[in-house]
Point group: C3
Chain length 306, copies 3
Amino acid sequence: MVDASYFKGKDVISMRDYGRKEIDFILNKSTEMIELIGKRCNLCQEKILATLFFEPSTRTRLSFETAMLRLGGTVIGFSDPSASSVKKGETLEDTIKTVENYADIIAIRHPEEDAAKKAADVADIPILNGGSGPGEHPTQALLDLHTIIFAKRKINGLKIGLCGDLLYGRTTHSLALALNHFNVDLYLISPEELSMKKDIRNDLKMNVTETSELLEVLPKLDVLYNTRIQKERFTNPEKYESLKNSYIITPDLIKKGKKELILMHPLPRINEITPDVDKMVNAWYFKQVKHGVYVRMALILLALGL
Amino acid sequence: MVDASYFKGKDVISMRDYGRKEIDFILNKSTEMIELIGKRCNLCQEKILATLFFEPSTRTRLSFETAMLRLGGTVIGFSDPSASSVKKGETLEDTIKTVENYADIIAIRHPEEDAAKKAADVADIPILNGGSGPGEHPTQALLDLHTIIFAKRKINGLKIGLCGDLLYGRTTHSLALALNHFNVDLYLISPEELSMKKDIRNDLKMNVTETSELLEVLPKLDVLYNTRIQKERFTNPEKYESLKNSYIITPDLIKKGKKELILMHPLPRINEITPDVDKMVNAWYFKQVKHGVYVRMALILLALGL
Amino acid sequence: MVDASYFKGKDVISMRDYGRKEIDFILNKSTEMIELIGKRCNLCQEKILATLFFEPSTRTRLSFETAMLRLGGTVIGFSDPSASSVKKGETLEDTIKTVENYADIIAIRHPEEDAAKKAADVADIPILNGGSGPGEHPTQALLDLHTIIFAKRKINGLKIGLCGDLLYGRTTHSLALALNHFNVDLYLISPEELSMKKDIRNDLKMNVTETSELLEVLPKLDVLYNTRIQKERFTNPEKYESLKNSYIITPDLIKKGKKELILMHPLPRINEITPDVDKMVNAWYFKQVKHGVYVRMALILLALGL
């Protein structure tokens, strides 16, 4: 039996740290958050969130900040390490041991895969992983699950396709690990060079089909989760150029899927989904954004023990 | 008859969208804001403003943020797109469709002339144009009008000179359009190469005099609105160098004008007004800044329907 | 007799502006702040702090912002002048005369030694110096004193060593000036090339010993205040390379000092203190950070007359 006390003071680092009960608890709490939006909320009135973003972000940083503000709290932080003491050579650990004297909770994004873990190891306050290099992005996985539940009223029994850059795309890593706890069929759709990161693939326990042919599996899918080819993780620009157009979702392609297919994407997109798809009822990628606020509100409240 | 309901949910994109009645309503509302400063105000307690600034700014961004904070609201955003998902290639439209899931209202500055319009076309929440390339800067025009009313107790009957870079200076574009609705004599003072942008010039309905000789018209003026030569809009640096010193206002020059002449400037200034003018009673450019807060408070309240 | 009214509306620019009574008053007020942390505080509810940081910072900017938020106030500002009007060529004075129309109080960091003074000369609202080039950093000196009092229950009678870059290290300048008002023995430990800035050295009135040999004086010290060699102030990179490893504090070295020796550092550190020192009871540098919040809360309240 999991209750709120389980989460108090705990970090959110990896989906590997959660079982089904913890996930269900967070998702239910997230749904409770919806009714707080637009009302005066003082739950976090005396609390400060620090957003320490060592990599570019619009969505995740503003989503965490919005979540804290909607809860009545306040925010400090930086969105560009070049204006911080990192420029003078400070280590991540020292930055964290400094900021924990200011804030009550920290959300961090960093280019290194183990950065959030390193931060959590030295911090006395909760650390929320907002994306750690090509590693994980657990709050995105939770918002993805919350979106699927709202679209499909369930997760069990669904056929879910993860498509695009499964090697460097950290959102697919965390989502695949999260789906381990549900009874789903998972389709991993990618060019061979960008197939699912090995340590994640090895841990998947559901029924998995791997393919490079989207069209072959598309008609079976209930959920298609497309992703951006992660240009910034490539050391070889030619390799990126040869792969960047692997899967481009158009209205015509959507029509080859089930009528109730939902199309998701963690955003930003470059050209993987053409803009004329946006108006289709299948398009759920902008709706995902709103679920990110609910989930992060829940995670902040739970970590702070409120 | 215009009332507050007219503005609810509406964007602020171009002065072309306002008639005299709308302008008067906004200016009166702005005056009401003055008594809120320094007092506890909860009018926007549960509201979030997003400031999305794709171009450098001190004044406009901090003015919008101050306006929202003085109303009891909160702020998210970015002042530098290089730390946002724009760096990963996200379109303006996608950024807007994301941020509207976080904020209740958006203020945007962008280097492209039609950016604010494009943002408004996709957004379900109000967009406030904080300057769109060499196009318009309507909230500046409204604060300029509010300043003139405070200095002169009227606008009708005044002789107003716009001076400097009338081609690229978006504040003069919006102010000229706004003055269309008043009974003024307008003097457009610029080097020939920087004369008033054609589409604006063609729409001016008041009595207009164009000249490159400031000294010729100065003695007639009630208001001299000087502007910076917009270096960042020039593709040819030599051209900028040859024009940058076209009009430099000194105390001696001010003394050649009417005793009650007021000198305005949207700031920042480089060398167009020498610092020894600052202490003269004619100098109104730093006072303008305060009126910017009043006007933006009014615009936020009106757009949110509060 | 000093009371709170003495500080109302006053700038905080240099430790030279304070006598013993003023320092004691601020330190006592800072101690009062401790009980406000974590509680709802509305003392500054209608007040805005502007943080104008023209140089990189994590600690000082976030510390000022935290202080204002803990007091119930709000914050505007920038952490990178390249996204502000400074990029268009605006002077510091014009930026200040603009921002004072938005905020109730300004904290500024700037690469020029006299920047905070220049800002204070033009501003009608209080200016707090958050570090002015190689000059002073008075709020750091006050938090250093507050930390020493908490660690040692006194300042008088202590033997205090300032170590490292005493030429460019502005924190040591302000701290040395502050210690002038106490009965201490001061040890200035630095390579000859980085010995204490002359105008500061000339004004020191306590018993001062200058040396380049840390080991010689270490056994006598109650407080060792180590500092980073200020790479960004060197014009000659080779000079920096030859000096950067002058004093590296290790556990073995600490053990050569008094058992109750406290080790302080304004942070960030590069390699001047090895990480294995962090867990020793002598390590006080991360605790200093918390005292920074208390002191800045007190300074904000006093300057605002609250």
